[in-house]
Symmetry: C3
Subunit: 669 residues, 3 copies
């Protein structure tokens, strides 16, 4: 967060009082206080109220909201309202709306549908934000600015095409460079004039669901980069205005999704004063998946983050929204804190009576009652956070394992047209993350630009795209004693998606000591097997046919014509070691490989004892370790012996040796 900090641990969330008469607000605030809520995010979608027609502003209602919350001692997260444009704007300037992947201009409706390069949108958004910043910039109750909302979604309009060409000129300088980068002599694609470049939607070089199929991967990946940049420019535009009027207040925009494929959060993170994240794990999502996302968010700036949105009970937009079981909401929120959140914020503080989110739960439900199970759980958590928030706030996480997650790889890997249609980036990264999660080994989710030397072990599965210098960086890291693990489909292409000739895994050949001659697709209804330590395991997706060029084999294929050849290898390189995993293994199959790497890297888990509870460790700013022990299930589980006798901050008593379903303890010695 650098010097811009939140004043305290925030407990609150999105509050849209403009949907009700003003005389109901005082009662709302009274109820929030019963739950120890100390903060509200406001003004997320009020553009139409603030600017009923172009250039005419009306802050009467917002002033009063700010006043009432301030008077009640609430910290305010002030949003800028630019994520949903008023109807009059679409009518007056139709080009503020996006042209979609199917080539259609949209009209007024929904939200998050602005064309990022529209000069009208930019001018009008700037105008509004300037007014807001001027008016509220020095308000002492505002503790953070929240720009726009959940950026995402690409535009394919003529404006974007023109801006894309400018972006390309910056990147490639000459058409020769561009033609080479995109390998445009294939299929007569050679470009002779910048104006000949068209956007890659369904009418041009792309097909299939957006972001999955393209003729020219270099073009399509660059378009995703460009759109991410164009949206980032909007964020920066707003941020720079706010900074003029509120120079000391952190500015953020809320990231979202699992993760959001269309926005390169690692590039965006550099522009954020603090990371904020909207977390909505589905009922059937394994608990390591939100943990992974929290670790990603924390690692983006290597600092605590804001849990900007989450739900007190049900969401409305997932296919099924079963009730959270008693205690589940509390454990789910504290899981975010355990991984680095310094706020707990809900969407929404009061449940809308109409509109698309009326079945999204809230602190104040439709019934308006406080004798409900959901409200009581919110109040209990408020009580907990009031007790522990100030201790936890600012506490860091020190991980010695870094798992690489990279947007350029996300994009390029899923554009791959070959071997098997089942290539999905996130599930494979999660395979590896889950290994460390289950071992209670703290893990950072790092970018390819992070400093690897901070880690004893760097895990980079399906590192398909290796940008210039990255191969050398990895070699240096390992040579100096680092440990790296990579996998099939790695080291294949450069940053424009052109193959490194000379044999896979290209720039990783030397460090891994292998040459992959061929890659077999695992087809439905067939099972290839790999033997590791005498045990057979299922091989999925792809089976690399590996030649050892210095490495030694840790596991071999058990069937097929390549039975007996290496499937998993280990290579000593300088003072370090590199592992290559030539197929997608089940959890049980990958486990001995991870064990070996953990041991070799000298990494110790937070407990050696096998356990079903989740454990994380945050270290306070004054060096005190806090152990979060979470039972993320309906069943009873035992506290590991190591923590017996520790003090639970939540109860100020000795740790309970048995955790009931969804029980949480925050332990110190």
């Amino acid at each position: 967060m650098g010097k811009k900090k939140l004043p305290r641990f925030l407990y609150g969330g999105d509050y849209n009082p403009e949907q009700w008469p003003a005389d109901t607000w005082a009662q709302d605030i009274q109820i929030f206080k019963q739950a120890d809520i100390n903060s509200a995010t406001i003004n997320v979608f009020s553009w139409a109220l603030l600017e009923p027609q172009e250039g005419q502003y009306d802050f009467t209602k917002l002033d009063r909201i700010v006043d009432e919350l301030s008077a009640a001692g609430f910290d305010i997260v002030m949003a800028t309202s630019t994520a949903a444009m008023p109807a009059w704007m679409f009518k007056k300037y139709p080009a503020v709306a996006r042209v979609d992947y199917q080539g259609r201009r949209h009209v007024f409706g929904q939200r998050h549908n602005f064309c990022p390069t529209s000069p009208d949108y930019q001018r009008l958004a700037s105008g509004l934000v300037t007014q807001l910043a001027k008016r509220y910039g020095d308000n002492p109750h505002i503790v953070a600015w929240h720009v726009n909302n959940e950026y995402g979604g690409n535009c394919y309009c003529d404006n974007c095409a023109a801006a894309f060409r400018e972006w390309l000129k910056q990147r490639y300088q000459t058409l020769d460079n561009l033609n080479r980068a995109w390998n445009m002599n294939v299929w007569s694609h050679t470009i002779y004039d910048w104006d000949e470049i068209v956007v890659p939607n369904e009418l041009g070089d792309a097909w299939g669901p957006e972001g999955t199929e393209t003729i020219v991967a270099g073009l399509s990946i660059d378009y995703l980069r460009f759109q991410s940049d164009a949206m980032l420019n909007l964020f920066k535009m707003e941020k720079h205005i706010i900074e003029q009027y509120a120079p000391d207040i952190p500015v953020t925009t809320n990231f979202h999704s699992l993760p959001n494929k269309m926005v390169d959060y690692q590039k965006w993170a550099r522009e954020q004063d603090i990371i904020s994240y909207d977390s909505y794990p589905a009922y059937n999502m394994p608990t390591y998946q939100p943990a992974f996302l929290y670790d990603l968010m924390r690692t983006l700036k290597h600092q605590p983050f804001m849990l900007m949105e989450s739900t007190p009970a049900q969401v409305n937009w997932q296919p099924y929204s079963p009730l959270k079981r008693p205690g589940q909401m509390r454990a789910t929120e504290l899981q975010a804190v355990a991984h680095g959140a310094d706020t707990v914020q809900f969407f929404q503080l009061k449940q809308a009576l109409g509109g698309s989110e009326k079945f999204h739960s809230a602190v104040i439900a439709h019934s308006g009652r406080t004798d409900t199970r959901a409200f009581k759980e919110v109040a209990r958590l408020g009580h907990d956070l009031k007790r522990v928030g100030s201790v936890v706030k600012g506490a860091g996480v020190h991980a010695k394992v870094g798992i690489v997650f990279d947007w350029s790889n996300f994009w390029s890997f899923e554009y791959v047209d070959g071997i098997t249609k089942d290539l999905q980036y996130v599930p494979i990264i999660l395979d590896y993350y889950r290994q460390f999660y289950k071992r209670n080994i703290p893990t950072d989710v790092i970018s390819v630009d992070d400093d690897f030397s901070q880690y004893d072990l760097v895990v980079a599965p399906v590192l398909y795209m290796v940008k210039p210098g990255l191969g050398k960086k990895i070699e240096n890291y390992v040579a100096a004693g680092g440990h790296i693990m990579t996998s099939f489909m790695s080291g294949m292409v450069d940053s424009s998606d052109n193959i490194y000739p000379g044999g896979y895994p290209g720039p990783l050949k030397k460090v891994t000591g292998v040459w992959v001659e061929e890659s077999d697709a695992v087809v439905p209804g067939h099972q290839t097997k790999i033997t590791i330590d005498g045990q057979e395991h299922a091989a999925h997706l792809i089976c690399d046919l590996i030649h050892l060029e210095g490495a030694k084999s840790l596991g071999e294929y058990a069937n097929e014509f390549y039975a007996g050849t290496p499937a998993v290898t280990e290579n000593k390189f300088g003072r370090g070691t590199a592992w290559y995993v030539g197929s997608r293994l089940d959890h049980d199959g990958l486990s001995p490989v991870i064990d070996r790497a953990v041991t070799a890297s000298g990494i110790t888990p937070l407990t050696d004892q096998p356990t079903e509870v989740e454990i994380t460790k945050r270290v306070t700013t004054d060096g005190q370790p806090l152990y979060f022990v979470l039972n993320m299930s309906n069943d009873q589980h035992e506290l590991p012996l190591k923590f017996h006798g520790y003090r639970d901050l939540l109860t100020d008593q000795t740790a309970r040796p048995t955790l009931n379903g969804w029980d949480v303890e925050i332990l110190t010695k």
Copy 2:
């Protein structure tokens, strides 16, 4: 039907002789007579022949068709031909064609694709109908006028947008009212000028398949209401022309589908002189489903209806069209009569040789032969109807159970974005209908505007939208001794889809004596159970967590954290009783609840004896009860003892104690 009546029981159907040379028609008519066919519906799709270019009419062929049928003693149902526009009209006036949900203007092709607000379409259709009405209005052989055909399908063009805004002005008067009704402060949707309102298709506030997903349910539901009204206006336009020239002849348009979601038949029914329905049960549709639809059609005007279309053998457009088994066609047609049909009409009397419906069966098949199984069955049924038609015609059905089916609920319930994605209106209504069908209890399918006091029991499942006054109407009905049954997802929203605050089921809280605090989604692969009378039953879709506020529990959840809490309740209210069913139950689970309500309401089935046959009762205009006993299966079933010794009108003999597969008896004492 009021004073406009059909002269006799019609047996016939759609006849398109214009597809063949005129010298073949006499032979056709001869064959129809062999099957005792006494009626033909003509001129359904002849606009292009009647008006080869704008304003130039040619009735030569139609005159001859009318003459030949009249000479043969046929009753004629005269259609107006406005459902399929000629090619020249699309070329001259492209805007007569619809803009679809994807935003695309269509061109010449298919049918039923006119924009309902197109001034050109209206002018040209009026012109044609005026010519037809003038020419044939006083023809004594025409027994009914058939306007257009199977109205349905929405348009999203600029004309419709403009007309929609006018419709909204009528409904809401001011933009303040509209913004409040649609809760437009959500997501910055506030409207400041009527012109800012855009139609809710894929480019605006809607997404997903048409009619399923929207940001602003109030807007989308109003658009469906508007489109239904706009099409109804077309019907009224034609009807008013016809009435000028044929004031005593009933005018109708044929309803269709299962049921048609896009047309509010209850509102349309008020404008029909007689209801007509096109019935095409699929081979795998349970037999209670067409029964439900016939009961709906009969209840629309509480009068017998016309079975305007049905098929003598196979249809062409369903995924699979197995042959009807011997006797099945006859039973299927007589089922409609059993539930209130006063006609049996086929599509089609002669099988087209080309075009999209050439594989749709007909009385005269491609072979032209009359020694076929299908023709013999048609002739047998003709013989039957000749015998019983005059007895049956006009006979009414007296039901003491009313099941509520409401288009506003159909629309709003399926737009719900929350709890579970599996919310479908019709299947849940059918759950309840099936209970009464299986018990052989006559049932009306009523609207929320029907007079509830006519019924001993009103069943209103998933009565999600409760319009102003409806809650009070239900309270009054029950207080006065009525019985009501409702379910989960009831009493939630007003007529603009805004939640009733204060706790579910809103305006039904008092009468049901329950407060629903939360609703759990039942997720795939998981089974929640409910115990009723000591038996466990599966709970589906949603489980309401119910507080008894006066009601008593009739069944409790058997598992989950809410085990032991009420799932089904009963509440004495005034002199009546209200039941609340908090989950979707299987047929066996719902059965004891229905039993209890039937007993409490004093309703008696047509037979107490368990039976596999279907039984209905129509009472002739002179008070004679006719019992229809239908074996709707391939297997033998026994006649209930009660009917032994009755006379079968179809054979004029004593009822057979055993019904063979697809056997039917129409019994009187």
Copy 3:
């Protein structure tokens, strides 16, 4: 091939050296020679390089490619590069791009996306081809010209609409004829002006996936005919230019797919000097399917064909691309030769580093190495072909069975809207082909215009559309002693898709001696059975209810209300016999019917001994029979005894009595 012949058996494929620096080419050629490659196809997609702006040509690079290959003794297949247009052309002439089935004009991107009637495209393509033909027409190293590439894909633009109307005027002369042919009095479709005709895409009369659903089958089938003709005109345009400069060199375009539904290859074949085919069997395709396609290609001109493309290892665009097992590539390529190929050509000789096909395998892979399994197999096959190519080249296949495959039936059968939605043409044809394949009986895949008298048995399943004269042709063939087998859904419509009245199978009634009164759909989850020779077999898809009108029954239904009625029949007609198969039978069920026909027709398989190997026979130009024995599996199989002692041309040794997995022998006495 007539007088235009290939000079030798070609081994080579597509080579795109323009994707690499010129100084790498010599090394490539050196590697090709190591594999005994003697040919390269060049210039397939170089338009953008050859014509960087309109009218400015640059042949520097192509000259050098031609020179280097010529110097190395390679035969060149010269492509014309017109299948992928340069970006500048889309910018300058947007209408060169197609309007798709959804009604959207496409832009620059992908390939094979030209509007076939675009005057700009035609002018520019002609210009380029004229330059190429002039420059290289007399080059002695060019052994074939390859026009465009894999034609296919329909356009629905205004230009095409106008051209379609002209095409229709040629076909129908008058609108009366057209209205009658399309049966346009249905649904008010009557046309009064040619300009009223619109193209049948999603906005007009068609719906569903392209080519599957339409209101007016006559219109939609004619549109497919027209588009196939329009593309054929493009081929002829190029061919005529080339012929002026290279009158003695064969001209071809490469056919593709399984087969390509959108191009009537039988009509196109007349314009080809030699047939060429791109073969990409998927990993899970049964081996009789490529065999069928090769037999189709050979029969198109009753001459050997070019295997223009195939893959040395994996393709990139199929859902799963497992590795070919050791020996599998060789067997797969030789299977084509066994069925009539006189070339073996790969896509691609060198693997692209970028673009959509970078994961499509090549002779020179990304590694550039020749010590790979794949390269060694390519070299082995090169060695084989060097040995046997000159013997095999020109050798014919003499089949006495002709299986009818007809594009008008392909189109019309799959447009059928009725009985069952599961009507697919190719799988049913394959059912019958497979019977002969498994018996090792040589089979031609003939058109309805082929001379039936060449065959002892003609098999024409689902001959739904019977064009004028075809019924009589079949009668004459059988009367004169021929044998015909047909099936359900035959003889139903004329060439405009209008039913033949009077009973199915229309013009085939007399020759088959049956009348089909009704056709039952077999529905999911239900099993109808047929008894043949005392054995019960499953009936699929459709069950015809057959009246014997001269025929005798060979098999009867075993269940349903039509149990005991005929399902398969045989009819003596003149000196020949006709079989009618009233349902879709499993392989085992169809087998006794085929046995009976084979015996009656006096056809002898290449071996009587049951065997798992595939056997074909080609007869060299000097009359020597060559038996190809292929083990198309991973398992060992025995050589039939008949061939013991034969000489294997591939080894010049006595035939091995046991074939290992994927082993091949080419045997002579």
